[in-house]
């Protein structure tokens, strides 16, 4: 049962004849951090809402700790949800927002205050507790939403793009915090995101969705190193696609070796160079090999030989054996 803490089986959902989710299944272990990753409109939010019980699926089942939860209304599931818009009640203070759900439970005022304090502690909001949502920064609002969802000690924490409204620096900091809170409370978490970097860095497992189906469900490095489909290969990390001997293979930019003096390898011409700080990204045109787009190769920006490269420079390229074929 601990291995099948949350399980969705063959979830299907259409809106007005348009199939949004098609036979979606995945399983989360207790305490796992799962990401639902995919491009806009692929059905992530819909799946999350079905798990939460806010939306009914057309067919399929949601199991929680082995029990069929499909007919259980959202109000009885005790799943914590953080919405993309946070949906903080603007007329209630931070404390009142966090305590909102506690009020209806018979736990006594003292216990409720204790929980609120603990949540303020965990999310670092003690200084803000009497403020109203509009007085808070985006990141702080996000934390309040998180604290409010966690206060009821939910069976699962569901997050719908919790960081998408924040700027890059805050986003990076907060995703670390979310992961830290997850580890500390050991709470099974499902997070929706369309940012593959975010998914790779925080999750134990990622379900990559495309057009209403889960194309692959696996750990971040499984997805990165052994993507099952071309879509995954292109969506998770950067990937070059080459046509070699009639097959299509994928190679990561950092797996390709280039040299300005060696005689071995394939001839290539530098088409463009991007300075990316710690590395240089080269865009190459290969001789005799067809690529979907210019071959992307990342090289160290400290390498003097590479620093000398200009557009139209000639270069040798070695494609590693580890290339993935499709």
């Amino acid at each position: 049962m601990e291995n099948e803490y949350l399980k969705t089986c063959n979830i299907t959902k259409s809106f007005g004849g348009k199939r949004v989710l098609n036979d979606v299944s995945f399983t989360a272990k207790r305490g796992e951090f799962i990401c639902l990753l995919g491009p806009s409109g692929c059905g992530k939010t819909t799946l999350l809402r079905i798990i939460a019980g806010l939306e009914n699926s057309d067919s399929g089942t949601v199991f929680f700790r082995g029990k069929d939860f499909t007919p259980v209304p959202a109000s009885r599931r005790n799943f914590g949800i953080v919405f993309q818009s946070y949906a903080l009640f603007p007329n209630l203070t931070v404390t009142q927002n966090i305590a909102y759900g506690l009020k209806t439970r018979d736990i006594g005022k003292k216990a409720a205050d204790g929980i609120v304090n603990e949540m303020l502690e965990i999310t670092g909001l003690h200084g803000e507790k009497e403020k109203y949502p509009f007085q808070l920064s985006g990141g702080q609002q996000q934390r309040v939403a998180l604290a409010r969802a966690l206060a009821l000690n939910p069976g699962i924490l569901l997050l719908d793009e919790p960081l998408s409204a924040l700027d890059a620096k805050v986003r990076e900091k907060l995703r670390k915090e979310i992961r830290a809170i997850h580890d500390k409370m050991n709470i099974t978490t499902v997070m929706v995101t369309h940012d593959q970097e975010e998914a790779i860095t925080v999750s134990d497992k990622i379900a990559v969705m495309n057009g209403g189906v889960i194309e692959q469900f696996g750990t971040p490095d499984e997805l990165y190193f052994t993507p099952k489909t071309e879509f995954i290969a292109g969506f998770v990390g950067m990937m070059n696609f080459l046509h070699l001997d009639g097959r299509k293979v994928g190679v990561r930019p950092e797996q390709i070796r280039v040299s300005t003096f060696s005689n071995e390898g394939i001839n290539a011409v530098v088409k463009d160079i991007e300075f990316r700080g710690s590395f240089l990204r080269l865009f190459l045109k290969l001789e005799n090999i067809k690529t979907d787009s210019p071959l992307v190769v990342d090289v160290s920006s400290c390498d003097p030989a590479m620093q000398r490269l200009r557009a139209e420079s000639l270069i040798k390229v070695q494609i590693p054996e580890s290339a993935i074929s499709f």
Partner: protein, 564 residues
């Protein structure tokens, strides 16, 4: 499951409410217009009779002529008034806004009475001034202007419809986007060109709404033509005469249908066009920046103050007269007209009006909120939850007179189990709620739409019952709209005559009805006093409302970023 049942019951109740108090009464009018007294279908026989009667045809033409003229005049006046106030730098805009809205607080009879006092046979201008002028100049002029008739009706209706048009137009002007003006300017557009290519298109939808509103209001108003119409008949008064005067209910119903049809057409044209509007004003829009120009400022100020003073002058005349012993011959200050002694109306009708207005405001606000809430916030099936909203909005097209007539026909029938409400204050409250509910439902809906839909989902996921979220979050966030609604119902119930004139009983006479009977009986000063009393009441309520709203705003300012 439980919340779902509650929702379904609530929606069911609202639908039953509208069926019972709106739809079925209307059907009974249709029945009367198309069937004879034995219940046999007679098709358009009544209408044929209507259109062969020269009197009726002339009323029909008069109604269109008057409301057509009123529509053009009010629209132009209100358009430039709204334009000046929102687009030109001026002092005292706040005062101008207030003055323009005073006539919302008065029954239309008050304007008619004022006009009679000013231009009638014994009028101040028409009689005293002209004879004074003749004596001074040794001339023999006759006042060239007959106020009883089309002119009087038109002036009264213009004053009556002006604030409605102004309010709609000023909202449109407020929603214009400065970026469009800047774009036009960089492309070298001059003032006039900007007006025609940017300003006009951006208020297009508001203008259409204003025009249909003015038309419907003036087409269906009975108060002013009753007082100042003289021999000039219009359809709204015909209904009254047919039903109350001649007890000819089928002809009354026929006229009612004829009154309803143009109103319905105007209503649907407006709906259709508004639907195309979509989102022309986004959150990215930049508010219009007023540019200074001395010439246009002077022109605008003269124009606005001219209109405002005219409104004040007309309304002020009635108020002034009500305090004079015997205007214009004995100008001693007195309160005797407010005693309502030895006249065809008494003070209890004022108290009845207060009761009805408070009842309408309280119950109406609850019904309007419930209709808006179910449409906007519940999870029932779309078709099902939109029905109450659609029904509520449709009431906008149905004139008060038609509602009133429908109610007598429906509730006075002995077979109706609700016939016991006939002749009570309750039926007046019910008629008023249906009469005025459309605007409140729209404004509460738009305030609910501004709230995050996820509020309810968050609460649900926390296992908090919807009722608690309604009281803890939804209602506090819509407090402004709720208070406005209460005020709107109150003020309109105080000034209305059309629906209630058919429905009052021995002990449930209202102030507006008393005005008409006093005026009929020649107790014009008392009628003016009663009309002024209504005005004072509404102004008092407005002051209380403003204070309360200010206090609430201060209290809620702590959590409100944007104040509306």
């Amino acid at each position: 499951m439980k919340a779902k049942t509650v929702t379904s019951v609530l929606i069911g109740l609202i639908i039953v409410y509208f069926l019972l108090f709106f739809f079925l009464p209307l059907v009974s009018i249709g029945r009367l217009a198309f069937y004879n007294t034995d219940g046999v279908f007679i098709g358009f026989k009544n209408f044929a009779e209507y259109f062969t009667s020269p009197n009726m045809i002339s009323s029909f033409k008069n109604s269109f002529a008057v409301s057509g003229t009123v529509t053009v005049v009010t629209f132009l006046l209100a358009f430039f008034y709204a334009f000046s106030i929102s687009r030109i730098h001026m002092r005292g805009k706040y005062v101008l806004r207030y003055i323009s809205m005073i006539s919302l607080f008065t029954p239309t009879m008050l304007h008619g009475i004022a006009l009679v006092y000013l231009f009638g046979r014994q009028g101040l201008v028409s009689n005293l001034f002209v004879s004074w002028f003749n004596a001074k100049m040794h001339t023999n002029h006759v006042f060239p202007f007959e106020i009883y008739g089309a002119a009087g009706i038109i002036i009264s209706e213009v004053i009556y419809t002006f604030p409605h048009a102004y309010l709609i137009l000023s909202v449109s002007f407020a929603m214009s986007d400065q970026r469009l003006y800047e774009a036009a300017e960089t492309m070298g557009a001059g003032k006039l060109r900007k007006f025609f290519t940017v300003t006009l298109p951006s208020v297009k939808y508001g203008a259409i709404s204003a025009i249909t509103t003015i038309f419907i209001l003036s087409f269906t108003d009975m108060g002013a033509p009753k007082i100042v119409g003289g021999q000039y008949n219009v359809m709204a008064v015909d209904i009254y005469k047919q039903v109350i005067g001649q007890q000819n209910f089928s002809m009354g119903a026929t006229v009612a249908v004829l009154l309803l049809v143009p109103a319905l057409i105007a209503f649907f044209i407006d709906r259709l066009i508004q639907q195309r509007q979509g989102a022309t004003f986004s959150s990215k829009s930049v508010p219009y920046v007023i540019k200074r120009s001395l010439f246009s400022e002077l022109l605008a100020a003269a124009y606005c103050w001219g209109i405002a003073l005219l409104i004040l002058f007309v309304i002020g005349t009635s108020v002034f007269v009500s305090f004079m012993k015997f205007f214009p011959y004995d100008m001693t200050l007195t309160l005797k007209h407010y005693m309502f002694k030895y006249v065809a109306g008494d003070f209890s009708s004022y108290l009845n009006s207060l009761k009805v207005a408070l009842g309408t405001a309280a119950v109406g606000t609850a019904v309007a909120f419930a209709a808006a809430y179910t449409a906007e916030k519940t999870k029932a099936k779309d078709v099902f939850r939109k029905v109450p909203y659609a029904l509520a909005i449709t009431t906008l097209a149905v004139p008060g007179l038609v509602i009133g007539l429908a109610y007598i026909l429906f509730f006075n029938s002995p077979s109706n189990p609700f016939s016991f409400i006939y002749g009570t204050l309750t039926i007046l409250v019910l008629a008023n709620i249906i009469h005025f509910i459309a605007v409140p439902v729209m404004s509460i809906t738009s305030s609910l739409k501004k709230q995050d839909r996820e509020y309810d989902n968050v609460a649900e996921s926390m296992g908090v019952p919807p009722v608690k979220t309604l009281f803890r979050v939804t209602l506090p966030l819509s407090l402004n709209a709720v208070m406005e609604t209460f005020f709107y119902f109150f003020v309109n119930s105080m000034v209305t005559i059309s629906a209630v004139i058919f429905l009052y009983g021995q002990d449930t006479k209202l102030a507006t009805i008393a005005i008409v009977s006093m005026d009929d009986a020649g107790d014009t000063a008392a009628a003016a006093a009663m009309a002024s009393l209504i005005l004072f009441t509404n102004m008092g309520v407005k002051i209380i409302y403003d204070i309360a709203a200010g206090m609430i705003r201060k209290k809620t300012a702590r959590w409100q970023t944007i104040q509306r």
